[in-house]
């Protein structure tokens, strides 16, 4: 302390200043508010002054009195130590990180309570520490937010699409049943009669329901609306175990022609078109020009077989006016509920037995045919499972890279904190306690990253759902629910602990090295740091490389898909479906006239370049196959037949869709019902059945050699059009002029056509055309 006599200030005033300095230095670690600290400094300085005066007045020399007064402060930092637990006038309690709880002045309590307090203390210290490192914290939280957010978003999709059970009771017992050609294995739909036999004979299922998709034009009120619907057997809803929200299910007797004009509405349709009318049950509705009676409304969320289906009507298995119930035409999809206690293997064995019996009983239609089954959930989400799991793995890698980055940052920070940690160690902090404190810091960082990540995921999910092409089942059910948040918490804690452990461990090594250095001994922690960080960088590079390779492959696949020659030019092409109602257009001639009229009207619109229509739009996945007899082709074995897709086209279809005619010519209006029967084949058909020959002028007919169908002369060959999707293999295909297509096909399978228009047509002009067509 300075000699007071040398000062020009009042000697006592200067002494008081010195007392204050001594007191203040002992309070500095407490982080008191300025007011509170000043009060304490004043009070304690007064105390020291009183003691000094007393000693001096008792004859003690001033210097000795000063030394004795300051001896009131004992060794160490006892003042701060005793002050620490106090609340100190609204000032947050100071934290002495790394010290045992007792030494930090924590009140005694149960061990659980103490641990809880310690953890809370660690968390608060961590938050303060991170606030003091804004650049580091920002970089780390942002990195983690991206990693955790991407994982949260993708997991929530995986959870909704793959992990959640289907919304039917005991959905694991639901199976899709199908017919199957034995060699080569080719899955097929059921024919109605085969289905009825299986339904009657199979004991492994509580219920088996068949269904067939179709379209309905509702024209009972307001503007006509086209909706997708299913013709179903009454047992389907028994199999799914779903009750209508209002009304009743179909009765088995309604699967009969004449009694089948009853309808179940989907919830969304009921709300949208009928305003949620509570008296809808029993009301008549006009669909496809025929009167139906609404017998019920299905509950919200009932989406069978997919979301876009909004109407269900009974399929007429008996007295089918169109003669659709036979053994040779395969169009029914079948879903059944496995009987409780029956294994899928037992059910499969029974299906095989039934198929064998049918094969023997009906060799003409059922030769070489068996049956198979697959779980409904696999059928529903099987297509996207691999893709989603791949994406989940990719974002998993992103998270690992983010973690490696943050760990690297933490390691860099750890090296700068060696002295701080050394001081704590000197003060008595155990290594375990220091590790816990540092792990807490990392976890606080990760939790902050997770919070930002969840916000990022919420935003990202909206974008992902909006960008989805709409063919991912159940994507609309994606939520940031408790399962997702539990997943996020899980990955946050696991990655946080892993990521924080190495830097924490490293810090304590650094601290030890720092102590050794202070003691004059050498330490080698620098090498350790370098090695740890180098390992992390190597891991990061490896992970990034894998991710880049994966992303590169995905991008290449995407590019290849883009480059796939689909055989058409879809730019500037509009397309929509038109189905003339059966009631107004019963026979083939009227259906053909209807479509002719639609195409003529659209072609007359200003700007229309070319308008045509097809029964099966390319790339749509719609398909119907038939047996053909190509003239001059000899099957390699008696069991093999020429099978190919059959399409009816009309108008300037080839020009409208941009398909290429590579030999011969396309159909024209001259190819009418009374002119020469003509056909066009795709390259694959020509290649397979007339290899090395000119297909132009060859003849083909539908059915086998003995078929009574007329011969069609091939007048053109067109470049293969991808029907089932860009990746699907091309199959042989035959196109017939719609005008020359058999009435059976026109009324049953090609009633609705996909109109294709190459033109800048507006929605309004199309609607006007549609309304006037309906008006007729």
């Amino acid at each position: 302390m300075a000699d007071p006599s040398t000062s020009s200030r009042s000697p006592r005033a200067q002494w008081r200043g010195e007392w204050a300095r001594h007191v203040r230095s002992r309070l500095s670690s407490l982080g008191l508010s300025a007011t509170r600290e000043n009060e304490i400094v004043e009070e304690l300085s007064q105390h020291l002054e009183d003691r000094w005066r007393e000693l001096v007045s008792g004859g003690t020399p001033e210097d000795e009195a000063t030394r004795l007064a300051l001896a009131e402060f004992r060794d160490g930092d006892l003042l701060a130590h005793y002050m620490a637990p106090l609340r100190q006038s609204h000032t947050p309690a100071p934290i002495t990180p790394g010290l045992p709880a007792e030494a930090s002045g924590a009140k005694a309590g149960t061990s659980t309570g103490r641990v809880g307090r310690d953890i809370w203390q660690d968390v608060r210290y961590a938050m303060r520490f991170l606030r003091k490192q804004p650049a580091f914290t920002f970089a780390a939280v942002l990195t983690l937010a991206l990693g955790i957010g991407a994982n949260t978003a993708i997991f929530s999709i995986v959870n909704a699409v793959l992990l959640q059970p289907l919304s039917y009771p005991d959905a694991s017992r639901l199976f899709v049943v199908y017919e199957q050609r034995a060699a080569p294995v080719l899955r097929a739909r059921f024919s109605a009669e085969n289905f009825l036999d299986v339904q009657r004979e199979a004991r492994s299922f509580d219920a088996l329901g068949g269904y067939l998709g179709t379209g309905f034009t509702l024209s009972d009120r307001g503007e006509p609306e086209f909706v997708m619907g299913e013709m179903i057997s009454a047992e389907l809803l028994d199999a799914l175990d779903v009750q209508p929200l209002m009304g009743r299910r179909f009765r088995p007797d309604e699967n009969e022609g004449g009694r089948d004009q009853v309808m179940l509405l989907g919830y969304a349709l009921w709300q949208r078109r009928y305003g949620g009318d509570p008296a809808i049950v029993g009301r008549p509705i006009t669909a496809n020009g025929k009167p139906y009676t609404v017998v019920g409304v299905m509950p919200a969320g009932f989406e069978f077989p997919q979301k876009r289906y909004e109407v269900w009507v009974p399929f007429a298995f008996r007295n089918n006016a169109q003669g659709m119930v036979n053994r040779g035409t395969h169009y029914l999809q079948v879903t059944g509920r496995l009987r409780s206690g029956t294994s899928p293997e037992q059910a499969q064995a029974e299906l095989t037995t039934i198929a064998r019996r049918l094969e023997q009983a009906y060799p003409d239609s059922n030769a070489n045919s068996t049956m198979g089954m697959a779980s409904l959930v696999d059928e529903t989400v099987g297509n996207v499972r691999t893709a989603l799991l791949l994406v989940l793995s990719a974002v998993g890698f992103v998270l690992l890279i983010a973690c490696a980055n943050v760990t690297n940052l933490l390691l860099a920070l750890a090296s700068t904190r060696a002295r701080e940690v050394a001081v704590r160690t000197t003060l008595g902090a155990s290594r375990a306690r220091l590790l816990r404190q540092m792990l807490t810091e990392t976890l606080v960082l990760y939790v902050a990253g997770a919070c930002a990540g969840v916000a990022f995921a919420a935003w990202g999910l909206g974008a992902l759902t909006a960008l989805s092409p709409g063919d991912i089942p159940r994507l609309d059910q994606t939520r940031l629910d408790l399962t997702t948040l539990a997943f996020t918490l899980g990955i946050t804690l696991v990655t946080g602990i892993i990521s924080g452990f190495v830097p924490a461990l490293h810090s304590t090594y650094c601290a030890r090295a720092e102590q050794l250095r202070a003691a004059g001994r050498s330490a080698t922690h620098g090498r350790g740091t370098r090695r740890a960080r180098a390992a992390l960088v190597a891991a990061e590079v490896a992970l990034s490389l894998m991710l880049m390779v994966g992303a590169g492959l995905a991008a290449r696949s995407l590019l290849q898909l883009e480059r796939v020659d689909t055989g058409l030019d879809a730019d500037g092409v509009l397309t929509f479906n038109v189905i003339p109602p059966e009631a107004s257009y019963a026979d083939g001639a009227s259906v053909r006239r209807f479509h002719r009229d639609v195409i003529d009207r659209l072609s007359a619109l200003p700007g229309a370049i070319a308008v045509g229509a097809t029964s099966h739009l390319p790339l749509s996945g719609q398909n119907v196959e038939n047996r053909f007899t190509p003239e001059g082709w000899t099957p390699p074995s008696s069991e093999q037949a020429a099978v190919g897709g059959l399409r009816g086209v009309t108008g300037r279809f080839f020009e409208a869709i941009g398909a290429r005619v590579i030999a011969g010519r396309a159909f024209t209006d001259a190819d009418g019902s009374t002119s020469q029967q003509v056909a066009m084949v795709n390259e694959e058909f020509a290649r397979r059945f007339w290899p090395g020959q000119d297909p132009i002028g060859k003849r083909l007919k539908q059915g086998g050699v003995d078929s009574e169908d007329p011969w069609h002369i091939v007048i053109g060959v067109y470049a293969d059009l991808k029907h089932m999707g860009p990746q699907a293999a091309t199959r042989p295909e035959v196109m017939l002029p719609y005008a020359q297509t058999h009435d059976y096909w026109v009324t049953q399978w090609m009633r609705g056509l996909s109109v294709v228009a190459r033109a800048p047509l507006s929605d309004r002009s199309i609607r006007r055309c549609r309304s006037s067509s309906h008006g007729e």
């Binding site: 009070e43 304690l44 402060f73 006892l78 005793y82 106090l86």
Partner: protein, 117 residues
């Protein structure tokens, strides 16, 4: 004062019996910190001594609990001092602590008397 006594007092501080000393001295009239430390030293004839670094944290702790209340008092020609007085709640605590202490001393006396007898 012997070092061992200082440590003993520290232990007492932790256990809380030192609170009894402070509350007793303030029960009579308000006093400031230095006054309290002198009184304890004098009345205990030098056996007990509070250091500045344990006395004031104790006073603040008692204040936080609401048993005593400190007030800055200014007098002419003197620097202001912080005086502490016992609150009604502190008085209740004091009564209870006195009773407990008396019972404790009596119990110890009985035990040690028995040993000696």
């Amino acid at each position: 004062m012997a070092d061992i006594n200082t440590r003993a007092l520290d232990r007492e501080l932790k256990r809380g019996s030192a609170e009894l000393l402070i509350l007793s001295l303030l029960d009579a009239r308000p006093r400031h910190g230095y006054d309290l430390s002198k009184l304890i030293e004098i009345r205990s004839r030098g056996e007990l001594k509070f250091h500045i670094d344990s006395l004031y944290p104790l006073l603040y702790r008692l204040e936080e609990r609401g048993w005593i209340k400190g007030t800055w008092v200014e007098k002419a020609d003197e620097r202001r001092r912080r005086f502490y007085k016992v609150t009604p709640e502190g008085r209740k605590v004091l009564a209870q602590q006195r009773k407990t202490w008396a019972a404790f001393v009596e119990a110890v006396r009985r035990v040690t008397a028995h040993d000696n007898g």
